[in-house]
């Protein structure tokens, strides 16, 4: 249990998707202009991560890993499909995003209004694929671990983009050298925030 909680805290603060691995930077820079849209996208990322990572975990564990097919009988124990994992992961993500979009639109129109425009963007958000790939690299023992990792990473991403958007809203009033305005200063601020987040390393 404490393991699961540990993974959660680590993935929010220490292994933060944005500050430690720069994942999902494209949408992070493009959408962090106002707090409202930023938190919308953040929520959507959280949501999609929480669904795709455990699903990919199960697929990886029972279909793709070397020896994963042994539940089909001993003759399958030697099969190693891990070279397909990238393609399968991305397919699962693209499929899930599409499915989610339809389900949300049908049953939760309010949520759809809030997240709708962001969902298609997410299929090609590196944070999502990164979540699945890091999950694979880290070899979590159970599905619960991978779920807590997914939620943590999603929250970390949400935290990062919301904080960034809030900063950028204030930036409008500050006097920045002309060539640095816009993306330049955004990079530098992200870097400084990342340095700040490194303070959590000791936990």
């Amino acid at each position: 249990m404490s393991d699961i909680f540990n993974i959660f805290i680590r993935s929010v603060f220490i292994d933060n998707m944005v500050f430690a691995y720069f994942l999902g930077m494209c949408s992070y820079l493009a959408v962090s202009k106002s707090v409202k849209t930023a938190s919308g996208l953040g929520l959507a990322v959280c949501f999609v991560l929480a669904i795709t990572v455990p699903v990919n975990y199960l697929i990886d564990k029972y279909l793709l890993q070397p020896g994963a097919l042994s539940w089909l009988g001993s003759s399958f124990a030697q099969v190693d499909l891990s070279f397909l994992s990238l393609i399968i992961f991305i397919a699962v993500i693209a499929g899930m995003v599409q499915l989610l979009e339809m389900v949300i639109e049908r049953y939760m129109p309010a949520l759809y209004m809030a997240l709708g425009i962001f969902l298609p963007l997410i299929a090609v958000n590196c944070a999502i694929l990164g979540g699945s790939l890091f999950m694979q690299e880290r070899n979590f023992p159970t599905v619960a671990h991978s779920f807590s990792y997914a939620i943590g990473s999603g929250l970390g991403w949400l935290l990062a983009i919301t904080a960034m958007a809030a900063l950028r809203e204030r930036l409008k009033y500050s006097n920045i050298p002309e060539p640095l305005r816009g993306n330049g200063i955004a990079y530098i601020i992200t870097g400084l925030m990342g340095l700040g987040f490194m303070a959590f390393l000791g936990i």
Binding site: D15, F83, L84, I87, E137, R138, L201
Partner: protein, 201 residues
Amino acid sequence: MRKFSNTYVFLYVSALVLLICVVLASVSIGLKSKREANVTREKYQQILKAAGYKDVPKKKTVSFFQEIAESEKGGKTSEQYHIRCADGNPGIVVRVQGKGLWGPIWGYVVLSEDGSSIKGVSFAHKSETPGLGAKITEDEFTNAFIDKKLYDQNGVFTSVRVVKKGQEGDLLEENRVDAISGATITSRGVDNMMKELRIEN
């Protein structure tokens, strides 16, 4: 853009997926032996480094290792080899593994024949910070382990501890090495890994 029928779309995707899978599968199988050879060679390289052999050419690693290895004992939980070290004396190679800051770390420790002192170590890591935690692979760190003792003056197993300067407590000089400054968690990982060091007979 032209309109396409549903059947066409379906067939198109199926054909594409099939094609891609077949090509990738054949490439993967074709390169498998090469990939596995890389993994083995890397392991042997690490052991040779720990045993004090410098500058063994990459291509000769495997044959060289087989030449000096006297017996090999590999299981699921432990890996142990008896080899001849660079100084001509026999040594026991033990694999250790643990967790660093970002991911797994592991290494090979070469012990003297009676298992009481260290003849050399080499560490590796998956994703430690370059320049900080990643320094565990560098000679500066690993050389400090040479000739350290695994037992204290009363014959109690202490292993070789990795401790920060100023926190040595009553550990003897010969039972500890200095931690890497700025890489507390990776150093602690190495420390824990060394504590687990066991020789199986």
